[in-house]
Amino acid sequence: MPHNLNYLADSLGDDVFFHYTDEAGHAAIMNGGVVKANSKGVSYFTQDMVSAGDANNVLFAGNPAYAGRGSYVIAFRISPDRLMAGVQPNELVHGGSFRFSLDDVIFHGENPFG
């Protein structure tokens, strides 16, 4: 399955969710096949398509420690009923780590949204 931008554009739908990360996070996630849960026991997704420059404000509350976290994006196909509403409308939460197969990935790489 191609994981490129054209495939992403052709595949967008209600069941496509993005995980924004940095280069190291992208490598770890793709090598491990898992988006690891944070200290609160959840992993985060969004359907917002935001540029690397906007990601910090839009997704991470302007936290300077998260600078660069929007530079890479992984797009997954996930059944929406597996996710819960987050603390703001553009945040979806998966209880625990999110394990995936490559068939679930429709794009990964540098942020294609600018």
Partner: protein, 135 residues
């Protein structure tokens, strides 16, 4: 007068209130159940929606209105019930129960039926023992 009108700052305030009032562990009980924070939370969400309305952003406004629906609060509701269970039997009246439940449920949108159902559910849980209350 302290005012916040920037959309991202308001959203960050909402995040902080969501954490303190519902999601974070080890929050002081008085703080978690504060009626002042409840009212402030309503004002913050109202301000977010007003900002979006004034800027003509109908799509995002609709997203926030859906976000506010109690039926979508899958993570927060069990935590609200668990918190209320810690002092529920000591509440002296039905009015007292309604008051603390409403304070905790705001800023989410709920009906009178929701309110009565949750009060009855908590009464029943307490009658059956606190082990019935899980997150």
């Amino acid at each position: 007068m302290f005012t916040v009108t920037d959309y991202q700052e308001l959203v960050a305030l909402n995040r902080a209130l969501m954490e303190v009032r519902y999601l974070a562990d080890n929050v002081d009980d008085a703080t978690r159940g504060s009626s002042f924070l409840s009212i402030l939370h309503v004002r913050v969400v109202d301000a977010i929606k007003a900002t979006l309305s004034e800027s003509g952003n109908a799509g995002q406004l609709s997203d926030w209105e859906k976000w506010q629906l109690l039926e979508n609060r899958e993570r927060e509701l069990p935590r609200i019930m668990k918190y209320l269970a810690t002092f529920w039997p000591g509440l002296p009246s039905e009015e007292g129960k309604r008051s603390v439940m409403i304070s905790m449920l705001r800023p989410f949108i709920f009906t009178d039926d929701d309110l009565q159902r949750l009060i009855s559910q908590l009464d029943e849980m307490m009658a059956n023992g606190p082990s019935d209350i899980d997150e």
